[in-house]
């Protein structure tokens, strides 16, 4: 699926240049205001407005010595029935040179919406997770991770 791949390879630069915010404001944004950034980013990636939620749990260490292999756990409160389930969760690291991390697809009745893995982070940043539910709504959460050394991606 080469087309699909190309569509999802987004660099940070492309994102800022295409966005109204521009490169200048993006580079000086302090972490405190990054929540609006995340909403805007998701709107740009998906065309939909995500809702902040308590149902989606993204667990990562607040500080971690190296960016090469940072633990990440996701857990979504959902009965996973045909009528009420999570379709996928997409994880984005907005300050990585390539912002996409991974997308996890779950299947009602079969899989639980819960996964652990390890990711690379190029610098301290908010990691953002967006879940699409079966009715099309987007739920979003984010967590701040401070990495001491660059994950070199």
């Amino acid at each position: 699926m080469p087309e699909e791949i190309r569509a999802t390879v987004l660099t940070r630069r492309e994102l800022f240049v295409t966005g109204a915010a521009g490169l200048a404001s993006a580079t000086i944004v302090p972490p405190a205001s990054a929540s609006d950034d995340a909403v805007e980013l998701i709107e740009r990636l998906t065309g939909k407005t995500p809702t902040a939620t308590e149902r989606l749990h993204l667990v990562m260490p607040q500080t971690f010595p190296n960016g090469y292999t940072v633990p990440l756990s996701l857990d979504i409160d959902s009965p996973m029935t045909q009528n009420d389930h999570v379709k996928y969760v997409r994880v984005v690291a907005p300050r990585n040179p390539l912002i996409e991390v991974a997308t996890f697809h779950f299947v009602p009745q079969y899989s639980q919406p819960r996964v652990s893995t390890r990711i690379r982070l190029a610098e301290p940043q908010y990691v953002v997770a967006v879940a699409e539910m079966n009715d099309g709504t987007l739920l979003m959460t984010k967590t701040w991770v401070d990495v001491a050394t660059n994950g070199c991606i």
């Binding site: 292999t69 040179p97 079969y110 996964v115 893995t117 070199c152």
Partner: protein, 108 residues
């Protein structure tokens, strides 16, 4: 590059309806395509871009991986035991190579 080695860990027996944990790992560099060698040449991108867990022919857990997944991609996930049969684990590399493992599985 060393041949990627897949490994999985699944409980040997589970009861029907039980939620069980699966651990899947493949040894793989996950070369991002952003690095350069000592002569300044770009090291070509080579990553696992898709992981599939199939339960008796049904895709039950799928991951799209990008460059920011750490080397030796590891996933720990949870499935519901419905019936005995086979679990297939498939890793697809961006160049078209596919690595897989099959696991026979008893649901009591």
């Amino acid at each position: 590059m060393v041949t990627p080695m897949p490994r999985v860990q699944v409980p040997s027996a589970v009861t029907k309806g039980e939620i069980f944990q699966v651990k899947a790992l493949i040894s793989h560099q996950m070369e991002t395509g952003l690095r350069h060698d000592s002569e300044g040449n770009v090291i070509p991108r080579k990553i696992i871009e898709r992981f599939v867990c199939r339960y008796n022919g049904v895709d039950v857990f799928v991951v799209d991986l990008h460059e920011a997944v750490a080397a030796n991609p590891y996933f720990e996930f949870y499935l519901r035991a419905t019936e005995s049969g086979q679990l297939d684990f498939i890793w697809e590399e961006d160049g078209g190579d596919v690595y897989s493992l099959a696991h026979q599985f008893i649901v009591a």
